[in-house]
Symmetry: C2
Subunit: 145 residues, 2 copies
DNA sequence: ATCTTCTTTAGAACGGTTCTAAAATCATTG
DNA sequence: CAATGATTTTAGAACCGTTCTAAAGAAGAT
């Protein structure tokens, strides 16, 4: 139980952005390829629509905000990204789709991975009738000492 | 470790709304008393600004939306309520301020308490330098079987 | 009552996200 | 290599929950 990975790289899984998109059943359009290239370089990353747009812009990629949102949702649906709920008002996405949990620095709005192997949640009661557990999210909220 | 409580009532703590407000250092105004009366009847409850406003309206209490928000924040700051982050876009509040975790029914946007005693989170790494753990939130996301 | 401070309020503003309808791109076919 | 049809992108509007603003109202002290 618990995929062992360090929160760093997944060397076995480095595909070209185009391959990755095709595997996911998404047409490798210019915009999607550019975004995939930024997102899937190896190290795990946390991002928001806004931060990705800035990054794309810095990298010289012209991508509209609507496309950023569309792409983020498509990638999430395709299992290339994971959504993380830490506060109302903003969607966070994570390129690490393996089992793992997060620190959240409340003061700065920053997420940090906790490796999947280290946290263990015990004693989850059975799901109410007709329901199954989709996933268990743990957020360790940190503030300045 | 872990306050033992069932997610139901806290009989030792039933104060009049007015007392409760005074204890929290809040003037017992008409609006705050009406909202406290709705919220702190004994059983634990989950709510949003919108749901509370509807409920207040049904109960014949005239309270503006701005006051709902103000009050929700003041109550939270005073430790009378707890915020729960389950999805971006909406603030959930919980009248159960004791240590406990939640089921979240993704399809219907409903929160259900998991009693504080049953869940155990082990293996949380030390907080990064200069940080302390504020709290550990566990959300068990459920979907239809 | 009077004065000061705190609270409530309607409505505007805000910020992040989603929608819309039109233009652009892509793949396919003749 | 058009012409066609389907998909994708886009600017900008719309949306929705939340926060702000400035003015009116209530609470408490004297």
């Amino acid at each position: 139980m618990g995929v062992i990975q360090s929160g760093a790289n997944h060397p076995g899984e480095i595909l070209s952005p185009t391959e990755r998109l095709r595997d996911a059943g998404l047409r490798p359009t210019r915009q999607r390829v550019e975004l995939a290239r930024l997102l899937f370089r190896g190290e795990d990353r946390h991002l928001t629509a806004e931060s990705l747009q800035e990054e794309a812009h810095r990298a010289g990629a012209r991508v509209s905000l609507a496309t950023i949102y569309n792409t983020l949702h498509q990638f999430t649906e395709a299992g290339l990204l994971k959504q993380v709920a830490v506060e109302a008002g903003r969607y966070y996405f994570d390129t690490n789709v393996h089992e793992h949990q997060h620190f959240y620095l409340e003061d700065e709005g920053i997420l940090i991975d906790i490796p999947g192997a280290s946290i263990e949640v015990a004693g989850v009661p059975a799901a109410p009738g007709g329901m199954v557990v989709d996933r268990v999210d743990v957020v360790v909220r940190l503030k300045r000492a």
